[in-house]
């Protein structure tokens, strides 16, 4: 099994729903976003680049963990906290992570983030401030790969929503995308939603030259004639 995700950049409208759903469901404290959506070339989101004479451009780039087959973060982790699970996802065992941050330096995509503060305190959870995050722990073969109140001083990132996948549901960003731009599933299974979607579509991956072999595939802007996406089928 090789879980992966297609992101259709033609469909993506830069609405950032995936960012917020990710943050909400994965209890990310202020300052931490596992998933980010950028406007290419612009510091201000949804502001075009270009000039009247040369024409304008506004394109969006959602970036989160690429779940690389050949993951730099896993290689540099001195404790084995960062590892590749049997389904191909790259996860962090919060109980093994010692906070050395080698993985943050090694990740070519800048998607790993570090909890400098006590996240529970930052979020103010249960202190009558605001309240969010899937509340239950999630374990992979006994390893703690999701917990709402991450301990201070661990690296964290997208897990393709481990806590939901174990229940047979898709990642929150996929369920949350109102543009149907994210398609998730087993890249090894030719009948999965994602494989069928990708069939015949030109795709690209981020910084392919590095050889990290990411499992997030971007359907290139300009690709038309897409098949109807059936929402709600199994992964």
């Amino acid at each position: 099994m090789k879980l992966g995700m297609a992101i259709d950049l033609d469909r993506c409208i830069g609405c950032r729903t995936c960012m917020v759903v990710c943050k909400n469901h994965n209890a990310q404290p202020e300052g931490i976003w596992w998933n980010r959506v950028f406007t290419i070339g612009s510091d201000e989101h949804q502001v075009a680049t270009g000039t009247r004479g040369a024409g304008y451009e506004m394109a969006f780039m959602p970036v989160s963990c690429q779940h690389c087959e050949n993951a730099s973060c896993v290689k540099v982790c001195p404790t084995g906290a960062s590892y590749t699970a049997d389904d191909g996802t790259v996860l962090v065992d919060y109980e093994r992570c010692i906070g050395c941050r080698y993985c943050l330096a090694a990740c070519p995509y800048g998607v790993r983030q570090f909890n400098w503060e006590d996240p529970a305190k930052t979020k103010g959870v249960d202190e009558d401030r605001y309240c969010y995050g899937y509340p239950l722990d999630s374990l992979d073969e006994g390893r703690l790969v999701y917990t709402r109140d991450r301990p201070q001083g661990v690296a964290e990132k997208c897990t393709f929503c481990h806590q939901y996948r174990v229940e047979g549901e898709k990642p929150a960003c996929v369920r949350g995308c109102p543009a149907n731009a994210r398609i998730f599933g087993d890249l090894d299974d030719p009948n999965s939603d994602v494989s069928r979607y990708l069939d015949g579509r030109p795709t690209s991956r981020l910084r392919e030259e590095l050889g990290n072999d990411p499992k997030v595939l971007y359907v290139q802007a300009g690709a038309k004639q897409k098949p109807q996406l059936v929402y709600g089928e199994g992964m």
Binding site: G14, V20, V47, A48, C131, L136, T147, Y231, G232
Partner: protein
């Protein structure tokens, strides 16, 4: 290592119990976890069934899931699943359970993070009262429900005795967000004789071209019909930012081979996704549309049969008076006896002879003349010149709207106008969308009339994927609500906000209170930020002219800071209610996922209790029940709604709705609703009914019973608007009000909708704030900003004689020059206690006043008809 780390880091966890093994225990636990009776076992079990059953923490607490509906008045009405744990909603995700899969998943970044607002610092937890008036420095204090309600009832009685009930103004958001709880307030308002400001006009308003042209409120396409359009002409609706849950239907239309043409002065997300972006000068849409109509007429590309059958364009107009000629005035003709009430029978020419056009049914002889000039002999003996309205239209277009002239006005090349006209006339079905922001100008109705002309003369009405839409709010009442909205012996009155600010006008058709306004009662709304006249409201509280303010809300908005009584209500995951939207065909429930925190209570209880305390006699019209029985009472109202709601909800039961969204019925046999189907296919006269108004109550707006492009009401004639014409921005407004504004204020001030807010909703949502660095922004074209010596990132002040607002300057290259843009919805606390609305003036268009309908339609609030200048903050 593992155990050591776990201890060292204070992690406590254990094997989590999975769902399947706890099927039986969780159903019981999830109900027990909430207050008794607060979640019905039925709704809980069904939600669990839909989502898989509940999971459970090692602490024995269940994670339960309830299907509800997000309801902030954005037109989304998106089905959500709320996951509740330990009595609080922890996460939200789209339910994605709509019968038509195209609607799945439906939601956005704001609605899916709503849980962060339910327990935040701003949540209202207790009733509050201010016993010493605001003007005398009185402060709000927390109190009991008894104190708050008794104090409110006493103050309301005092004001009623002093000035009359109609001196109490009422402002609430549109009803279809929550027909039951808000409906209780509406019931009270309809009982009390307080003056209802139509909720419609606070954030958007009925685009006046609809009643002017079609006689009714909007008859827009539900968004899943967008994918059936082969051509979409979008005039200034930034759907990809402001209609997030629907936007993919435009993409789908493109994926199916359809084309999307986007007309906007500015390069937006929607522009970036369109097949073609037409950059037109601000306010020039009407000129472009009329020039396109001219091409269609000149090249005989219009649908002649459609024009003859359904429009007023064949009807003869007396060229001397500008009035249509009624059959009763013509020698040898009579008004048919079966001419319906509020209608007139008019004439047209067939074979050179005047004939009466059937006033009871939409039909006309195929040989009826559209062009020419005729001599008509009247019963008075006088002979007058008359022309079909079509001929007058043609003459107007020939004179003023050649493509070359439209190019001068709009900056759009004449050849582009001509090419797009031919496309629009030949690619069918075509759908035209007019953006809410685009119509919120003084002459926004003229844009809509001109665009309607394109939709109608191409025959794109009454067909799947064809039509004209203007999406401006969740205003549309979609079933008959009288069983709850209207008490026996109703005493309802209404006037637009405009008159509250400007005083009565000579041309108003709305009533005005004899003693003026002295109190404001508001709910589900934040007028002290979001209304265009928020500064007027504030000043009148500060001066004491408004003696009493009461608000009901769940958040501590700016309005709360000005209130004398604050009633803490429920968020929409804390009560059951029912809602609908114009954008999709599903009637859905908000369902209770958690108890409201603190002393917050369901509004059905709050306003029933208040009504009884104001006047015990009113109590007969309101149920008497303890707050813990609110859900039971809500369900009774819901059942009655479904029994008496009419055809669209016939046969739907409470149990059906508990199970999930239910599609409402429509008139046409096709799967998707087709607007004006009855008119086009059954030849029934315009207009269709506009709920909640009684059938026939808007018939007089189109006395021909046809789609009217020629308006012969005196006011249209006086203003030269009998046919749609282009009028320049600001001439009748800012420049008329102050001629020096032409020099002083070079920028058009626009308060556009934000990705991060719905009106002033979500303003304090912590995630939305983080995405914006907590900073309001001002967007300008870089050339304009540089010419003013303003650098990107500067804090700038946008100002005019009326007000000001500050923000961080952003260079936006895709903006058309001479605009200064601020995104609406920021609460005053984020804008140094000023408001983006302080700059705006509520101009009244006398034509709009004709179309006033109590509590429903007002003259448009021309938010964008506003001028300003900009300078570095502090540079005054």
């Amino acid at each position: 290592m593992k155990e050591h780390n776990a201890r060292a880091q204070g992690i406590e966890h254990g094997p989590r119990q999975t769902r399947r093994g706890f099927l039986k225990t969780t159903a019981a636990a999830s109900v027990a976890a909430c207050a008794a009776g607060s979640i019905t076992p039925l709704s809980q079990a069904l939600a669990d069934d839909m989502m898989g059953d509940s999971a459970m923490g090692t602490d024995g607490k269940a994670l339960s899931q309830v299907r509800s509906t997000c309801s902030p008045n954005c037109t989304g009405a998106c089905g959500m699943v709320a996951a509740t744990y330990d009595g609080k909603v922890r996460t939200l995700i789209q339910a994605a359970d709509y019968g038509d899969d195209g609607y799945n998943p439906r939601g956005c970044l704001k609605g899916t993070s709503f849980n962060t607002m339910m327990y935040g610092d701003d949540r209202l937890l207790h009733p509050m009262i201010r016993e010493t008036p605001y003007k005398d420095g009185g402060q709000l204090r927390a109190c009991t429900w008894d104190e708050a309600l008794d104090f409110a009832a006493k103050r309301i009685r005092e004001i009623t005795e002093k000035y009359g009930a109609d001196s109490i103004a009422v402002d609430y958001q549109v009803p279809p967000l929550n027909y039951i709880n808000k409906g209780t307030f509406i019931r009270l308002v309809n009982m009390s004789g307080w003056t209802n400001f139509p909720g419609y006009e606070m954030n958007g308003d009925l685009p006046m071209f609809f009643p002017e042209t079609f006689g009714c409120q909007c008859e827009e396409l539900e968004s899943y019909a967008w994918e059936d359009s082969r051509l979409t002409l979008n005039f200034g609706s930034n759907i990809m930012t402001t209609r997030l849950p629907d936007s993919h239907f435009l993409t789908k239309s493109q994926e199916a081979g359809g084309k999307v043409i986007y007309f906007d002065p500015n390069y937006t997300v929607t522009a970036s996704k369109a097949d073609e972006w037409v950059r037109l000068a601000p306010g020039s849409d009407t000129a472009v549309a009329l020039a396109m109509a001219k091409v269609m007429i000149d090249e005989k590309l219009y649908d002649e049969a459609f024009v003859k059958t359904y429009t007023d364009l064949p009807l003869l107009v007396n060229t001397a008076t500008g009035k249509r000629i009624p059959a009763s005035a013509v020698n040898g003709l009579e008004r048919p006896q079966d001419t319906p009430e509020k209608r007139e029978a008019y004439i047209a020419v067939v074979d050179g002879t005047p004939v009466v056009i059937n006033p009871t049914r939409l039909e006309a002889p195929s040989s009826v003349e559209l062009e020419g000039s005729y001599r008509i002999e009247l019963k008075t003996g006088e002979t007058v010149e008359a022309k079909p309205a079509f001929q007058l239209l043609k003459e107007l277009l020939d004179r003023d709207y050649t493509a070359a002239k439209a190019q001068n006005i709009s900056d759009v090349p004449a050849e582009t106008i001509e090419r797009l006209a031919r496309m629009t006339a030949t690619i069918k079905p075509a759908h035209i969308i007019l953006g809410g922001s685009a119509h919120q100008y003084h002459h926004g109705d003229l844009k809509g009339r001109a665009l309607s002309l394109l939709a109608v003369i191409t025959g794109n009405v009454g067909t799947l994927g064809g039509g004209i839409s203007d999406y401006i709010g969740q205003y549309k009442v979609r079933f008959k609500p009288a069983s709850w909205f209207m008490p026996a012996n109703a005493n309802a009155t209404s006037t637009p906000y405009h008159y509250f600010v400007n005083g009565p006008t000579e041309t108003m058709t709305a009533p005005y209170p004899k003693n003026g306004f002295h109190a404001l009662v508001t709910g589900w709304a934040n007028p002290f930020d979001q209304h265009a006249v928020c500064d007027v409201l504030r000043k009148r509280v500060e001066s004491g002219e408004l003696e009493f303010i009461m608000t009901c809300d769940f958040l501590h908005t700016t309005t709360v800071d000005y209130a004398d009584v604050v009633l803490p209500g429920c968020a929409w995951y804390e009560k059951t209610d029912v809602c609908t939207t114009p954008l999709h065909p599903y009637i859905q429930l908000q369902q209770k996922a958690a108890d409201p925190p603190g002393e917050a209570r369901a509004e059905i209880w709050i306003f029933s209790e208040l009504a009884r305390r104001i006047d015990p006699a009113w109590g007969e019209q309101f149920p008497d029940f303890p707050p813990e029985d609110s859900e039971k009472q809500i369900e009774a109202v819901l059942a009655k709604f479904l029994e008496t709601g009419g055809d669209k909800v016939a046969g739907i039961t409470v149990e059906d709705l508990r199970r999930g969204p239910v599609k409402m019925k429509h008139a046409n046999p096709e799967e998707k609703m087709i607007p004006f189907w009855d008119q086009i296919h059954n030849h029934v006269l315009f207009p269709p009914p506009s709920l909640p108004n009684a059938p026939g109550s808007t018939d007089h707006f189109v006395p021909t019973g046809r789609i009217e492009f020629y308006k012969d009401h005196d006011r249209f004639l006086e203003m030269g608007e009998q046919l749609p014409v282009w009028k320049p921005l600001f001439e009748d407004t800012e420049y008329a009000l102050d001629p020096s504004a032409r020099e002083k204020y070079p920028f058009n001030y626009l308060t556009r909708n934000s990705l991060y807010r719905v009106h002033s909703n979500y303003s304090s949502n912590p995630m939305m704030l983080e995405l914006q660095d907590g900073l309001p922004r001002v967007w300008m074209n870089p050339d304009d900003a540089a010419a003013k010596g303003l650098a990107e990132g500067d804090e700038v002040e946008v100002f005019n004689d009326r007000g000001h607002v500050n923000g961080k300057l952003v260079y936006e290259p895709g903006l058309y020059p001479k605009q200064c843009i601020f995104e609406m919805g920021w609460w005053a606390r984020y804008t140094e206690d000023s408001s983006y609305n302080t700059l705006i003036y509520p101009f009244i268009n006398p034509i709009h006043e004709i179309y006033f309908i109590g509590a429903t339609w007002s003259t448009n609030m021309a938010w964008n008809e506003c001028l300003c200048d900009v300078r570095k903050a502090g540079a005054k």
